[in-house]
Every structure is written in structure tokens, then in C-alpha cells.
């Protein structure tokens, strides 16, 4: 049993962290005056407001009725995430045909009722479809085959 509202606490802390990072990044930017605002004025004001709201949400979560963080299904997050990452890494080297095939295979295995034969077929079809539609028909400038 948890004694705090975990989801709200996490969101509150997240907001405070984002605000802290933003304040650190803009620390050197001039504030200016109210009539001639510098580049640091508005971001700083926003970051402070975000930090305050984050503190409020986190504080409220501490006194609220206990609630566990919702369950996270890691399999789709990791596999779909990996597929996206692979696309970014592989496309400039392997070209669209091979990359699309790999991306569909990896993403497709995220589903519990995935069937291998079916998935390989879909991957091949989608790879061909993507090349025809995006490169041949729409003329997007991306390599189709591996680049040396």
C-alpha cells in the first residue's frame, strides 16, 4: 500500500525538474526591464510558475489518499520505442527498403497476438509500399538502398 497519490507526486516532481532545468539553461540570459524585456524574462516567469504548480501538485499528492502508480505495459513501449529509434539510426545507412522492413518487424512484435509468418509478410509488403509511395510517387529525398 502506498500512502500518497503516486501519479500526482510523479507529475509534480516532473514539473519541478523541468522548471529547474529550464532555469539552469537560461541562467545567463538577460532579464531586461518590464518595458524592454530581455530574452530571459518570459521563460523565467514561466519556469517559476511551472515550479510553483509542480510543488502544489506534489504537495497535494502527499496529503491525498494513497493511490499506486498505474501499471505500465513495458513491452509495447520498449518495442515500439526501439522501432522508432532504429528508424532514425538505420535509415541514412541502410535506405528505406531495409529500414522499413526492420521497423515493422520490431514494432509488430509488440502485439501479444502477433504471428511471425503474417508479420514478415506485412513487413515485406509495407516496405515495398513505402518505397513506391513515398520515394517513387511523392519524391521524398531519402535513400532506398544501402549507402556505402
Amino acid at each position: 500500500m502506498t500512502r500518497v497519490n503516486t501519479a500526482d507526486l510523479a507529475f509534480g516532481l516532473f514539473l519541478m525538474a523541468v522548471a529547474a532545468v529550464a532555469l539552469y539553461l537560461i541562467a545567463d540570459l538577460p532579464m531586461g526591464s518590464t518595458s524592454r524585456m530581455g530574452p530571459g524574462y518570459v521563460p523565467r516567469a514561466l519556469a517559476v510558475m511551472i515550479a510553483l504548480i509542480g510543488a502544489f501538485i506534489a504537495g497535494r499528492a502527499l496529503v491525498a489518499a494513497g493511490e499506486a502508480f498505474p501499471d505500465i505495459a513495458w513491452r509495447p513501449i520498449l518495442l515500439v520505442g526501439a522501432a522508432v529509434g532504429l528508424f532514425g539510426l538505420l535509415l541514412p545507412r541502410l535506405g528505406l527498403a531495409a529500414t522499413a522492413f526492420i521497423v515493422v518487424l520490431v514494432a509488430g512484435s509488440a502485439s501479444k497476438d502477433m504471428r511471425w509468418k503474417e508479420l514478415v509478410t506485412i513487413a515485406a509488403l509495407l516496405s515495398a509500399f513505402a518505397v513506391l509511395l513515398f520515394v517513387k510517387a511523392l519524391g521524398l529525398p531519402m535513400p532506398v538502398w544501402p549507402v556505402n
Binding site: 510523479a10 530574452p39 514561466l46 503474417e118
Partner: protein, 499 residues
Amino acid sequence: MDLIANLATGFSVALTPANLAFCFLGVLIGTLVGVLPGIAPITTIAILLPFTFTLPPASAMIMLSGIFYGAQYGGSTTAILVNLPGESSSIVTCLDGHQMAKQGRAGPALAIAAIASFFAGTIATIIIAVASVPLSVLALKFTAAEYFSLMVLGLTGSIALAHGSAVKAVAMVLLGLLLGLVGIDVNTGLPRMTLGIGELGDGIGFVAIAIGLFGISELMVALSRPQDRTLLSVALSQLWPSRKELKDCVPAMLRGTAIGSILGVLPGGGAALSSFASYAVEKKTSATPERFGRGAIEGVAGPEAANNAGAQTSFIPLLTLGIPGNAIMALMVGALMIQGIQPGPQVMTAQPQLFWGVIASMWLGNLMLVILNLPLVGLWVSLLRVPYRILFPAIALFCCIGTYSISNSQLDIGLMLLFALVGVFFVKVGAEPAPFILGFILGPLMEENFRRAMNLSRGDPMVFVERPISAALLVLTALLLAVLILPAVRAKREEVFQE
């Protein structure tokens, strides 16, 4: 009559073969994603956005807006036949529409949904055409102070209408505003929060954020839910509603259109809210409220008219003021900016072809939708047999290609992945991404107008309340906030979103 001349200009643009084709493509894709649960119109528009880059501006906008209102039609089909709302705006259509289908009256339910949508779409198109001229004339008088106040009102509206906690929605708006400021400061040329990455000088890629939050993130969340669909095999023997049913529906359609047209214009408003409000009104005003939820045809006609009217009139603030009222309109701003067009009141005079062409295409699109939906309803339903496990890898791939194609940048793919993960976190903690994306789009605009207004007033913040239009907008904002805080409204709001 200027109006007739303007509409004539519009139709001359919208009726060119190419634009008719793009309009058709838009409503076709819209119907498709409307029918398929799990792909929202906002995701689709985000994915297709990069590919509109090569189109002329009018064609791009005609197609993208077709997707939006097309999805309202498609969503009701699945709501009625399968009890699955394809879109959030068709949730209430499930209540009575599916009951009608169970009683063997699926045909009349589908027909009345299409008729109501078409009727509302026609009226809404006229409203847009009539209202936009005076509104953009008014908007040309706006100075920085008015623009700033208007955006404050818009963001407050998106907070009021966000699902779940209002405090979290405020936080999301502020986060969006802050992230919108990443990049080179226009006034001084100094980089802000770019981590020294040159590519971030132009800001975080809008498409990468939108597809990450609404496309990839949605896939990750949807896959963790069980994917089962039971199809109700309905006989579509009789399609047309009886004369009496039609007559019963006319007042509901009129009220729905009125509600949708008003709520659509409101900042943060749009299709979903309109349909909820219309259903509530129909139930309240009906002489026989007990029929609702058991297959009352008014319960289909009203909300279906309302969601289509709301979907269309939500274009008004975008087209006339250049301020997006909801997340989908924020994407439309993105689409215009890709084309090198800064949305605002000047678009109507500087780009009349674009402006009136899009408006005229809405009516043509609605006509196509009626033709597309009624005879082909069997085809759309059979699409539901395509399993999600086949669909989602394709969506993932298209998201990647779309984001990458914006500037052939690996950084964009990385950002998309980052925002997909953040998006899952947002879903888990109950924070809605729509106010975030609105804040993100408005961030730079708001800062610029705020700084300019304060500069002109020599640092006196009273400028925002001394100018009458600005003051009126701020009073509206304050009223909205006051209403939000009222305990009775808070309880009601939670109740509405619970349903």
C-alpha cells in the same frame, strides 16, 4: 453581394479537378480513420502534415480539413453499428444509435446521422462565410495587447475543457508555452534552451512533438489494452427513416446545429464538447426523456448535427484571427506555417483563393461524405475486420517517415521518441496533451505580443485592461475562471467527463 462573390471565388478554387481530388482524398481518409478506433483524426493530420509541404496551400488545407470533418462522419458509423466510438465526438452517438441498431433500425440511425451531419455542415459553412468577414475586420484593429489577451482567453478555454484535473491542465499549458520558446530569440538573436544544438535554433520541430505525443505515444498506450472487437451483424434492410422519424428529428437537428456552431467557436471547444452538450439538451427538452438510451432517434440526430457543426466552426478563430482554438487547429497552424503563411486576419485579403477555397470545399466535402457514407456503409464496416496487429506497425512506420521527411533529420526522430515516452507518462498521470500542444504553438506568439505591448506601454501592465477589446477578453477569461472554480460547476464538469 460580397458574400456571393466571395463564395463564387471559393467554389472556383474548390471545384478545380485537383482540389476536388484532394477534398475527396481528405474526406475518404477522414472517414477511414473515423471508422477505425485507435487512430484519431489528430494523429492522422499530424502524420500527413509533412506530405502536404509539396502541395499548393489551398489544396493542403482542403485535404487536411477534410480529414477532420470526415472523421466525424466515420466515427458515427462505428458508434452505431459496433458500439465503439471511432472518435471522442461520437461517444454519445453510441448511447441511442447502437440501441437503434440492436432493434434492427441501424439503417435509419446511419441515415439520420448522415443527414444531420450534412445539414449541420451546410449551415456551419454559411456561418463561417458570413461571420469571417466582420471578424477579420475587427481583428485587423487588434494590437499586441488584444492578441495577448485573446490568447490568454484561448488557453483558459482549453484548460476549462480539458479532461480531468484543471490544475494539471494549467501545468500542461505552461509547459507547452515554455517549450515553445526553445530556439533563437527573435529580438536579440540569442539562443535559448537549445543545449548548444544548432538545429534547435528554429525551435523544437512541431511535427516531431505532435506525432510523438499523438501518434507513437497513442500506439504504446493502445497496445497495452486488450484488442477485442465483437461485430454485431446487422441487416441493413431498410435505410431510410420514416417520415415521422424525420419530422421528430428536425428540431433536434436545428438545436444541435446551433449548439455546435456556438461551442465550436469557443476557445478549447470543438466537436466532442458540442455533441455532449446537444445530447444533454435533447434529453432535457424531450417530452419523453425515458426513451433516451433506448434508441431515441433525436439522441442521434442532435449530437451528430452538433459535432459536425462544432468541427467546422472551430475553423473560425483560426481563419479570422489566426489563433487556434483546439489542438487540431494548432496542427492546421503548423500546416500553414510549413507553407510559409502566417495565419491571421490578413490571410483573407492576401490569400482570398486559399481562404474562400477552403470554406467552399467544406460544403463540397460534406456532400461527398453523404454519398460516400450511406451507400458504402457495408464497406466501412468490413474495414473493422482488419486486426489492430496489422494496422499498428504500419502507423508506426508512417509516423517515422513523416517526421523524418520534414528536414531529413535524425534529431527529429529522437525528439519524436522522447515526446512519445513523455506522452505515455502524461497519460499515466492523467495530464492531457491537448492544452500542451496549444501552448506550444502559442508560446512564441504570446511572448512576442506580450513584450511588444509592454514595450509600447513603457512597462505599464495596465495596457491590457485600458484597451476596451483587450479588457473585454480578459473579463471573459476571468468569468471562465470563476465558473471553473465554482464548486457546483466543478462537480458537474467531472460528472460530464466521467460519462
